[in-house]
Symmetry: C2
Subunit: 183 residues, 2 copies
Amino acid sequence: MTTADDTRTRILAAARELFAERGYAATSLADIAAAVGLTKTAVAYHFHPKDRLAAEILSPAADDMLALLDAGHESRDDFVEALVGFAVRYRSVIRLFMEDLAGDDSVSPVSPGSERAVIRTYRDEIFTKLVGEDPGAETRLKGWALLGALQWGTVKTMDLPEDQVRAAMLESARAIWQDPRGG
Amino acid sequence: MTTADDTRTRILAAARELFAERGYAATSLADIAAAVGLTKTAVAYHFHPKDRLAAEILSPAADDMLALLDAGHESRDDFVEALVGFAVRYRSVIRLFMEDLAGDDSVSPVSPGSERAVIRTYRDEIFTKLVGEDPGAETRLKGWALLGALQWGTVKTMDLPEDQVRAAMLESARAIWQDPRGG
DNA sequence: GGCCGTCCAGTACGGTCGTACAGGACATAC
DNA sequence: GTATGTCCTGTACGACCGTACTGGACGGCC
């Protein structure tokens, strides 16, 4: 029980790291297994479909995102601040999160009926909260720019403490939305 | 000659589009072939290693990036503006470009001795021009945030005219660097 | 002792990938 | 008409992927 729990968490940790570095598709079960010192069948034993590994890694972030969406935000700035906090807090899995969020609907149906597809249903809601309904061209662009900045800014600064990343990221995120001519 | 040239450009166009949507690794030769109405062997005939397809697609952008790096920029703002112009102009291939640029060095050696790895040598130069040498934590984060905003902002607004994207993108890019407390 | 469930390795299977090779349709040159 | 080169298909190969199945090592329980 204890030992098995250990390997489970070790697998999760290794997978989280590899997924963050290479992305979901580019990380094989054999890679994860090698990082933990097991065979790929052992990994498959603990997480039967590969999707479940990602689902379990994503699970706490997904829950928090749901709570974040349900919470009322007075202004868009408030929502942006909450979004930045979310991205920084879950920066180790945000690449995985974004892969589901921004993936093409046409390609790779995320495995037919997979649980990972759940996140994709968030997308419209997140994006609507961010840019409003039926946004203009410029607003839509800024929405994606913000999401891109959030992902890369957090992923590429894993070595920095969370507080520092959040402060800097918040500044950049607000700057994107700010009307430079005074708004 | 004419017909063969046609299929070559048609393959390039389809590949450019699919690479932009799904990324390099997630796009198979069969996918590209299906989009053009050929078999994957026909595609392989025109572009012998798959790398060459990406290399040929990336080639003009790579040349322009070299020119951009060689050109003298008075201020960092000037360089940022040039960078935004580059990203918008080559938005159809910027995802491919970024894949090479930001890829992990450890994983997937981009095919041993591949030509695609050339772009990766740009990275240090681009990043240094962007954030200076030995940048602080916040500056480094903003650099990556800018690159992320550039990529997503341009890729996800393919339906908008170039001028509009450039104007909005330039605004966001400058905002990221702006010191909100007046700088 | 025997029994059973957990944890993991070994093996094998179907599928997809990029690629190599052989052959055919077709136009052009001689 | 025959030869030559280009353009493309069909087939096949090895490598890798995720997964199913079998079996063995180990520990707790009766």
